[in-house]
Amino acid sequence: MKTEPFVVSFGPQHPSTHGVFRMRLTLDGEQITDLDMVIGYLHRSMEKLAEERSFTQNIPFTDRTDYISAMTGNLAYVLAAEKLCGIEPPERAQWLRVIMSELQRFASHSMAVGFLANDCGAWQTPIMHMLRDREKVLDLFEMACGARLTTNYMRIGGLSRDIPPEFMPAARKLIAELPKRMDEYEDLLLENEIIVIRSRGIGVLPAELAIASSVSGPMLRGSGVAWDIRKADPYAAYDKIDFDICVGTNGDVYDRFLVRLAEMRQSIRILEQALDMIPAGPVHAQIATATVQPEGVPSAPLALRPPAGEAYGRIESPRGELGFYVVSDGGPAPYRFHIRSPSYINLTPLKEMVVGMTVADAVMILGSVDIVLGEVDR
């Protein structure tokens, strides 16, 4: 019987490629024999645009790379710029950064897990449940900085403003009711036989391949490597907080599910500690040296002119290691602004994970990589 390979183009318009992402799959019946990834539909040349804007003007760009977790994007860039300038933000700012990052991690993982279950076919029920909690987190963000999604909250040297007095009680109230929700989600999602058989053994990524492919985040931890930048290279008060790293064993889609759900629980734990331990104080460092703030210039922190040099700042974003490589030549704008985006690099082993699986599995595997096209394409 003569068979012919069949090339199917998944996307760019497709209900479940999480954005404008195109996979050209070569199928043999239902099995995939080859995969070619076509991206760039959302390329907005952020790295080039950033060279024409001052360091503080670039902070909104970092919201829009990974638009689902804007706070962590802000934080990574601001960390890199602070390394470059040698500025140390005050205590309260560090703790608030931790709080915002963990709230953002919770919201981002809610989306990721919800949409992964949706790819499994559960007709938006898990999404609706998990977005309930994400809405409350976004309400907190709105209280803090006025925006739900593109927060633009961090500044080089601290935060843009302090939290309003109603933030703390609202946050405590939210955290009190989250563990019960997490129990519900774990029961509904992890114990469900259909989800188990749809995701166990699918898209296995061995640990050696993961490290060699520079994969990071829940994908790496799902494969069994306990590497979390919050523990290994702590930034912003993470060294004073007690939490665990969540690791999977098999490296399949189910393990990444597990890791994300467990990380949501750890986020709740971190938040409980941070809300208790946060000190009072200023939220922005005083930056007023002659080299840094020229005269006649609108006030710092807008007019930050770092010394010539370069810095690479990395954080653990919900998708993996988000790093910013910033090179300065002493001018107002960065000389080179490079975003090391986890979603883009996590796509490196996609072909190895997908070849040999069926079309339905390819959708699940892509969902478990948890890409955000803004970050992939920049």
């Binding site: 760039g40 520079s214 609108p298 007019a303 002119r305």
Partner: protein, 171 residues
């Protein structure tokens, strides 16, 4: 805390193994000769004391008369990080050996650097443009792309609101 392995120490270690590979060694980075890149990287990955098995980031910088390819390396086992650079002096058609054979994670990052900067990587299995389409004129992240009048580059001269001459452009 991830220890930043000083470029001086790294430079020394590389110097011991490959006597003429190191061009420059500073605390922030180590610069290696481009043609010895693959050997040095293999050594960095396989040496049990350095153990740089993880390539954090690979990118290029356009320094007007030469290109720099910057490698940020990370050792998961030893929790140390370091920076490696390689220069390429040909500004028209820069070419650097590819490290895909050493770290697979370089695959997509080298494609991106090729696409946006134009640096070709010798030995890359599938070097094509990734964000832009085939036939796109030029490589956008180069400083001389879209040559402005007077040879001026993209950038900012002064802050918005700072008194002075022109706002945009540089050099």
């Amino acid at each position: 805390m991830t220890a930043d392995l000083s470029g001086l120490d790294l430079g020394q270690r590389i110097q011991q193994k490959f006597p003429d590979a190191v061009v420059d060694a500073r605390p922030e980075w180590t610069e290696v000769r481009a043609d010895r890149l693959v050997e040095v990287c293999t050594f960095l990955r396989d040496d049990p004391e350095l153990n740089f098995q993880y390539l954090s980031s690979l990118t290029g910088v356009d320094r007007l008369d030469h290109f720099e390819v910057v490698y940020h390396l990370l050792s998961i086992g030893r929790n140390q990080a370091s920076t490696l650079k390689a220069r390429c002096h040909d500004h028209e058609n820069p070419e650097v050996p590819s490290v895909v054979s050493v770290w697979r994670g370089a695959h997509l990052q080298e494609r991106e650097t090729f696409d946006l900067m134009g640096i070709r990587f010798r030995g890359h299995p599938d070097l094509r443009r990734v964000f832009l389409w085939e036939g796109f004129p030029g490589h956008p992240l180069r400083k001389d792309w879209l040559n402005f009048p007077g040879g001026q580059m993209a950038g900012l001269e002064r802050f918005p609101g700072e008194p002075g001459g022109k706002l945009e452009g540089r050099g």
